[in-house]
Symmetry: C2
């Protein structure tokens, strides 16, 4: 189901093809996020034109509203949302902690606060929408994701914050391992009842916070499960870029060669390049659309804000080297004007540009790996690309 | 420049073709409104697919931000906004009163309140954005609209509220007549300096509030000006549907046969049908997109709200007889879900549907007039179409 095409000499970067029931995906791949069943402000046809091959849906959100049973009845998430191509759903694990009661969740004290109750069976949490109580477990997460019907589904995990002490980090990791096994058992049972053409791939999520030995232990554990991919969770949740790159360096020799490696929640152009160099194949992040809704866009020179006064009179597109719909048809003075006026078209046009920027970047990455020129490309790109500060921007507003 | 194609027997309805520098327009026509240089939430290519042949821009808004000189420098409104087809700009007269200081403008007292100062020369008003002082006059309105560069431009008028007493209504009408003459003089001078392929058409706006004799007097005055069209202003600003239809009945015999008749700010499906029956050729209204952003949509059965609980589980499109992009690709349960989640895609998809509904309605109206079956079509349509109450809904939120 995952075929490696080429490897870059002097790097862990590689290209590959992941085959799913809804089509194939070229890796390294960036996956736009469609939290509530839509990539915010962008239509499916626009995503296709941008070059998206797979998008995400969020189990946590869709479970709370409208509920997976409605979506199942409607023929599954792809049919219902008019996105007929590959899709991935996360397990809800991350959101249970970050949205549900996450704001009160302080692993430093070793005991999560009000709102979230973790047991070996699963997690009781309160909805961020109305405070109502809910329960997610490995078994429930597998059933919800089967009902949603994505091609790639994720194991239920405990995503401990980057500030967790080692004792709690181990506890959360051990629980995540036990849950991965439970997910696998539940998943296999569920898949037997699904038709051959709708078999889902389950990826487990390795954790371990910022502790190298835990990270390695977790990656080894997940790699040895007989599952078709592995994910790295709990990075880009508050630690520095250096910390993230360090963890990826530590993990790299332990990544299972023949499975796709998915780094969850990343992200920025520079992080994608650094992670690909360290052997990562798959990425997702809300950043391109979230930044766009707030007026921020990427160019090959870095990150800019559309309200910058220098753009008031500019006849240039957002990026003179860009071929996206927005850059082909609109100049900065216009985009600045409609953004200033609060027009939703501005959010859509900037979202299209930012998504195109990352998908174009991954397309170039693939081409350069295939040509053996990835390292030069990466260095050239990063030399021209100004990063505002040394911080990790994957969850910027 | 305006050619009448067919007339419906037993009705004042007619079809025609209006030729402009950016292309031809089939009448009766509905013109989507792009206040700030964008039809809210809808891209130009989507407008073309929906069947829009001409859209509006707002002089008042574009003059305040970003300013007509920037737009002129950028090659005009059409090029700048990526809408390369016919365009119409209003004069700013309506907004000066309704937005600027309009909230304090009480013609019943015969003296407009703080914020707006009317003289024979023009109107001093305050910006609704920052309270800054501005001045618009017939001459300035002509210059701004020449800089914006639309195909059809409107004379500067005083739009007195539907509650004005007769004495004030006459005063405002007389001023509007004097201004129309000033506009014509300024316009002719400006057009001489424009190239032959960029000549603009000036339409004067007849006023008269709800007073039949004033309405007739004003329409006669405007008709006799040597200008290529006439508009009816100041209807759909608070009076009842009955009052509006009555005024149109009164005006109908006085409409200049060989010029297009534009009813400003209308509107609803039922009003368009009634007005076409009374000889109107052109319409504009913010209603389709404004209703959409608030979750309301039209079908051939009437007006509905997407959050209606009956739609929660519905696999039907918004309207089973509709061929728009939204109805072809999305069911109500999905649209209801993304609207509930506050997704901007919901606003875009409902806007596309509502605009398509009105443009499809006008296309059907034209086909039926050409076939001589307009009256039957109108009666059949209105029999199936439930109007929530007897009120005028053209400026609903």
């Amino acid at each position: 189901m995952f075929q490696i095409l080429n490897k870059q000499k002097g790097s862990a970067a590689r290209t590959g093809i992941l085959t799913t029931p809804h089509g194939t995906i070229q890796t390294p791949v960036f996956m736009p996020v469609g939290t509530n069943g839509t990539v915010k402000g962008v239509k499916p046809e626009e995503l296709v034109e941008i070059g998206a091959e797979i998008i995400l849906g969020n189990t946590y959100h869709l479970h709370l509203r409208p509920g997976e049973l409605l979506i199942k009845e409607k023929g599954g998430l792809q049919k219902w949302t008019n996105w007929r191509r590959p899709m991935l759903t996360d397990s809800g694990g991350f959101q249970v902690f970050s949205l549900g009661a996450g704001k009160d969740y302080t692993p430093l004290s070793n005991i999560p606060k009000i709102g979230v109750k973790i047991s070996e069976d699963g997690v009781e949490f309160r909805s961020h929408l109305d405070g109502s109580k809910h329960f997610l477990s490995p078994e429930i997460a597998m059933q919800i994701q089967a009902d949603l019907g994505a091609d790639v589904i994720m194991a239920f995990d405990e995503c401990a914050p980057g500030t967790s002490d080692k004792s709690y980090a181990r506890q959360a990791m051990d629980r995540t391992h036990a849950w991965a096994l439970k997910c696998k058992i539940a998943h296999e049972k569920i898949q037997k009842e699904r038709p051959a053409e709708a078999q889902q791939m389950l990826f487990p999520i390795a954790q371990g916070v910022v502790y190298d030995d835990l990270r390695i232990e977790s990656m080894k554990f997940m790699s040895e499960l007989d599952l078709p991919g592995v994910a790295i969770g709990g990075l880009s949740v508050g630690e520095s870029k250096e910390q993230m790159y360090h963890t990826l360096d530590v993990l790299q020799p332990h990544l299972p060669e023949h499975k796709p490696h998915y780094l969850m929640g990343v992200g920025t152009p520079e992080d994608i390049l650094e992670a690909v160099d360290r052997g990562i194949d798959m990425f997702d992040c809300v950043l391109p659309t979230r930044l766009a809704r707030h007026g921020t866009f990427w160019t090959h020179e870095g990150r800019f804000h559309i309200k910058q006064s220098g753009f008031k009179n500019s006849s240039e597109p957002l990026d003179t080297t860009c071929t996206c719909y927005t850059c082909r048809n609109y100049e900065m003075s216009y985009l600045r004007h409609i953004f200033t006026e609060g027009e939703i078209l501005a959010m859509s046009l900037l979202s299209i540009h930012n998504l195109h920027f990352l998908l174009d970047l991954t397309a170039k990455i693939r081409a350069h790996i295939n040509a053996g020129t990835f390292t030069t490309f990466k260095n050239d790109f990063l030399r021209n690309f100004t990063i505002p500060d040394g911080k990790n921007h994957n969850s910027d507003p």
